[in-house]
Structure formats: C-alpha cells, structure tokens
Amino acid sequence: MNELGLTPFLLLSAFLFACGVTCIATKRNAIGILMGVELVLNAANVNLVAFARFNSGFRLEGQVFALMVVVLAAAEAAIALAIILNFYNNHATVDVDDAKDLKG
C-alpha cells in the first residue's frame, strides 16, 4: 500500500464521478439517470474510504460516512424507483423528456 499512494484512488474516483455525471446528463431513461446517481455516490464513497486509509485523523470517520452513504443510497434508490413506477403507471413511459406535466 505504501508504493501505491493516495493519488490513484482519487483518480479512479474522479473517473467514476465523471462517468456518473455524463450518464445523468445524457440518458433519457429515468432508470439510467438513477444508475448515474449510483455511480456518483460510489465515487464519493471511494474517496471517503481512501482518505480513511491514508489520513490517520479520519480512520474511523471515513468508514462511518461511507456506511451512511451506502444506506442513504439504498433509501434514495427505493424512493426514486417508486416515483418512476408511479410515473410509468400514469404515462406508460419512462422517458424523462415526456415528464412535462408541470410545464406551463
């Protein structure tokens, strides 16, 4: 672990984050956008655990925050899928471009 250093983990996390943001920006399927959000949360989690390893002041905190993020991501996925299923029941589509009922 000594010769590896912190930077490769940060680069991997940055790449995952960029992939997640691109996924959120380009997908038209609502479930695809949800997967992009999962990628972004995972990127943040990799950062948290890497800092817990490489920064002795955050040995406990990094893991605790990572576990909180995992639990909150599960909650977010549950509620988002419920909303998507409701939208699908009412409109028979999951294309976010068609979700414009509130548009004036």
């Binding site: 940060l10 940055a14 380009t26 989690n45 995992v70 991501a73 419920a82 409701n86 699908y88």
Partner: protein, 191 residues
C-alpha cells in the same frame, strides 16, 4: 510491482471499463449489468484499502439490495421502444464535455494534493465501528487532524455516531413506508 499495485491496476481498470459501459450502452438491461460489475469493483477497492466491513456492506446492500431493486424497475418498465431510448447528438456533446471538464478539474486537484504517508496499522474493524455507532465514547482514534498548521495542536473531541445512526435508521423506515405507499397497486376505478 508488488501485489497490491497489480491488484489495484486490475481492479481499477475493470471498474473504469464497466463505468464507461454504463455510460455508452444504450440498452437499459446492459446498463444494469455493467453497473453490477462497477459496484463489485468498488467493493474490491474497499477490500484492497483494508476496509473489510465497508466492502462487505457494499456487496450486501448495493449489489444485493439496491441493484436488485434497479433490475426490478428495469424489468417492470423496459419493453418495446422504452428499452433503447436514443440520445440526440447535441446532448452527447454537452454531457460529454461537462463530464470531461469535471474529470480534468478533479484530476488537477488530486495531483496537487500530494501523497500522504499511510500508517500501516489496520483500519478500525467492526468492533470499533459498532461501538462508535452505539455511542460508546472512547472509540475515537488519536490521530492528528490534517489540514491545520502543524504547530497548532487541535485536541479532538470524543466522537460517537449514535445520533446520526438513529437519524439514518428512522429516515430509512420513513423512506421505505413512503416507497411502499407510492408504488402500491392502485385499484381500478370501475367505469
């Protein structure tokens, strides 16, 4: 090249390739499979970092729970033309340039950060994590806080995470009740 470096290169390459697969694949079922490989790769990264409990929780909660939920959503909604929604060229350009700009920004910041030296002591295991979640006081590690001047010694307070733990648990309960209410089967109105 020692074993951790080789393992990191292999796992990180697999994770990055499957993240790219999530972005570029058009079929939503294939996206779910690529996301599965990405999540497994991230949990392997946790194991490499020595955070065994976080890796196991990632495998159980994310791969076993969240992804199954997402796959159920895919199966309930993806049929016919909804399985492959095409993205317009302009949206690809805007989204891709946004992602590339963010990636360059994060890489520049990460390279500026330097590499702190890790201490080889193992990370706090499940024992310490569980005690800190239960609010037992003396679980805070005595490490120095980074980001403050070296001559200024900051005494860390005892940290326990009982209140966030309770808030998260109640939040999870409320969210699951709300999700069940939102997604319940509606009774058809007889017409």
């Amino acid at each position: 090249m020692s074993l951790p470096v080789v393992l990191f290169v292999v796992v990180a390459t697999a994770t990055a390739v499957s993240a790219v697969g999530v972005v570029v694949s058009r079929n939503v079922v294939r996206m779910a499979v690529w996301l599965l490989f990405t999540l497994i790769g991230v949990s392997l990264i946790y194991f490499l970092l020595g955070a065994e409990f976080a890796g196991a929780a990632q495998l159980i909660v994310y791969v076993g729970g969240t992804l199954v939920l997402v796959v159920f959503g895919v199966m309930l909604t993806a049929h016919g033309p909804l399985r492959e929604l095409r993205t317009r060229q302009a949206e690809w350009i805007v989204g891709g340039s946004l992602g590339a700009a963010l990636f360059v920004l994060l890489v520049v910041v990460s390279l500026k950060l330097g590499s702190p030296q890790p201490d080889e002591a193992p990370l706090p295991g499940t024992h310490t994590l569980g005690l800190s979640f239960l609010g037992v006081g003396d679980t805070s590690p005595a490490g120095p806080v980074s980001g403050v001047p070296a001559d200024k010694h900051i005494q860390r307070t005892q940290s326990s995470y009982f209140l966030p733990f309770e808030i998260v648990s109640v939040h999870l309960l409320v969210v699951l009740v709300g999700a069940a209410y939102l997604a319940r089967a509606k009774r058809r109105v007889k017409s």
